[in-house]
């Protein structure tokens, strides 16, 4: 049987034509449609997915500081928020995040550089860690994510770093080098800070989940 379910625009038009949905006194049908289109234009695209990979470990503790004192590796702060496609904060989201250490080695016995975060009331999550290292089988620095929220599709993805030498200084041109990253949106700009204390890097990765 063919799928006859109307899309959202068709549904809106049907509702207007049947008198199920009316605008305020000063709003014509055309204006209502234009308003809807403007709202649609403000929609957020769901974050692109990537593969889970073999190194995921369930059960990571909620730990906002993964970088232990004396850990080798360039300090990295990762922040972002978890929202739906309408920009609404998903407070009940859970963000599993894991990556290799600065030498490219995953902890397969414990939960080093692994965490499962609960975003705060503003939908923000953040973690202090180190820049992941390179390893031969997958030679671009990356962080894995698994994000879930009630009523939404669980998202599995990865992020990469525009400063990674792997992209040869031109991530726009080389984003798909060797097919490692599946989407250029997942290569994040990196802010580098000098000044008092150790130098550090920061990236922001906002996550948009679509409804289940």
């Amino acid at each position: 049987m063919a799928n006859t379910k109307p899309d959202r625009r068709e549904m809106l038009e049907m509702c207007i034509s049947r008198g199920l949905l009316v605008g305020g006194a000063a709003m014509t049908q055309t204006q209502l449609l234009a308003f809807w289109q403007k709202t649609e234009a403000g929609m957020h695209q769901p974050t692109k997915a990537e593969v889970l990979g073999p190194f995921f470990r369930k059960g990571a503790p909620d730990n906002k500081v993964l970088r232990a004192p004396g850990d080798a590796g360039f300090p990295l702060k990762v922040t972002g928020r978890v929202i739906d496609t309408r920009g609404r904060i998903l407070e009940d989201a859970k963000v599993d995040l894991w990556h290799a250490d600065h030498e490219g080695l995953y902890d397969t016995r414990g939960y080093r550089y692994r965490t499962k975060l609960s975003p705060d009331a503003k939908g923000l999550y953040g973690v202090e860690t180190v820049m992941p290292g390179h390893y031969a089988d997958r030679p671009a620095q990356h962080i894995h994510y698994l994000i879930s929220a009630p009523g939404h599709k669980t998202l599995i993805t990865q992020v990469y770093f525009a400063t990674d030498p792997f992209f040869e200084g031109d991530p726009v041109k080389n984003w798909n080098k060797r097919g490692i990253a599946s989407n250029k949106e997942l290569i994040l700009p990196v802010k580098l800070f000098e000044g008092p204390g150790a130098p550090r890097a920061e990236v922001n990765f906002d996550i948009v989940l679509e409804k289940a």
């Binding site: 593969v51 073999p54 995921f56 470990r57 369930k58 080695l105 397969t108 031969a136 089988d137 599995i156």
Partner: protein, 292 residues
């Protein structure tokens, strides 16, 4: 310990099968050829080119036709046996009795089970979110197990599609597994380096064997049920040398430690349990005499 014998192969071999009562070895290779060797002499007996083929049993392989249909072939006779439509690509396994084919597709997050003789899909089973790391049938074909990269393991009744167990207490993917020949135990291992032995009635872990010391990428059980063998994987790179460990099934004691040049791709015992064959990223098949 290096291999007792090696059989050179023109291209890197993948999953290995003993065939014809152990007299032959069958390997799909990286150059899209399926090669059959005489075990005793290493003589190349058959060499056929089949792009995208998967060897699913010692005398069966599947490939795709022009309309993306799945074709099942008798390897020895090079004869097409069955055509199956509307199946996605993905990890493909055949039940030991040849009755059911299971195909797992990561994007679909499900496992399709096909009745081979009827050429019809029996079930589309909801699987995990991460893709299948390992999929195996029980020796009598009654159970189908899918271990997912999301760490969960699902066990279904093949015929009815009923989910009989969802194992959620693992904290690492299981990359390799096999039932014992009597079907009483399911043995799996993977990321966390531990061998888990489960009772297949309850699916509870009845024993753990630790000590391999590497992530485990391959596992086999000898047909006499006395020996487990595990092959390692250095998570830094698949190219680093690793270990192959033979374990006594009953006691969990180490029997022997062998050397593999790189990540172990596949391990298989001969039907008489006297020989172990391995492929591990080199253009060769390694063989050890492992008679007990």
């Amino acid at each position: 310990m290096p291999a007792d014998r090696t059989i050179p192969v023109a291209a890197e071999p993948g999953d290995i099968f003993f065939a014809d009562g152990g007299r032959h070895l069958v390997v799909p290779c990286r150059d899209s050829h399926i090669r059959t060797f005489e075990t005793a002499t290493g003589k190349l007996l058959q060499d056929i080119e089949r792009k995208g083929a998967t060897v699913v049993a010692s005398n069966r392989f599947v490939d795709r036709g022009e309309k993306k249909e799945v074709r099942m072939w008798d390897l020895t006779a090079e004869r097409q046996m069955q055509v199956l439509y509307n199946l996605p690509t993905g990890r493909t396994v055949l039940s030991p009795d040849g009755k059911y084919l299971a195909v797992s597709n990561t994007a679909e997050r499900q496992v399709r089970v096909v009745d081979v003789a009827a050429a019809s899909q029996k079930h589309a089973l909801a699987d995990g979110i991460g893709g299948t790391a390992e999929m195996i049938f029980s020796p009598n074909g009654e159970l189908l197990v899918s271990a997912n990269y999301d760490n969960d393991i699902r066990v279904w009744k093949t015929r009815s599609g009923e989910l009989v167990s969802k194992i959620e207490d693992m904290t690492g993917a299981m990359f390799a597994g096999e039932f014992t020949p009597d079907g009483k135990h399911l043995v799996m291992a993977g990321l966390d380096e531990i061998i888990y032995i489960r009772d297949t009635q309850s699916m509870r872990v009845v024993r753990k064997i630790q000590g391999h010391g590497e992530t485990i990428s391959a596992l086999a059980i000898s047909p006499d049920g006395r020996t487990i063998v595990t092959g390692g994987f250095d998570v830094r790179t698949t190219r680093n040398p690793v270990k192959v460990v033979l374990w006594d099934f009953s006691s969990g004691n180490v029997l022997r430690k062998l050397d593999a040049p790189h990540r172990v791709v596949s391990l298989a015992f001969s039907p008489d349990s006297k020989w172990l064959a391995m492929t591990a990223g080199e253009k060769e098949i390694a063989l050890w005499s492992v008679a007990r």
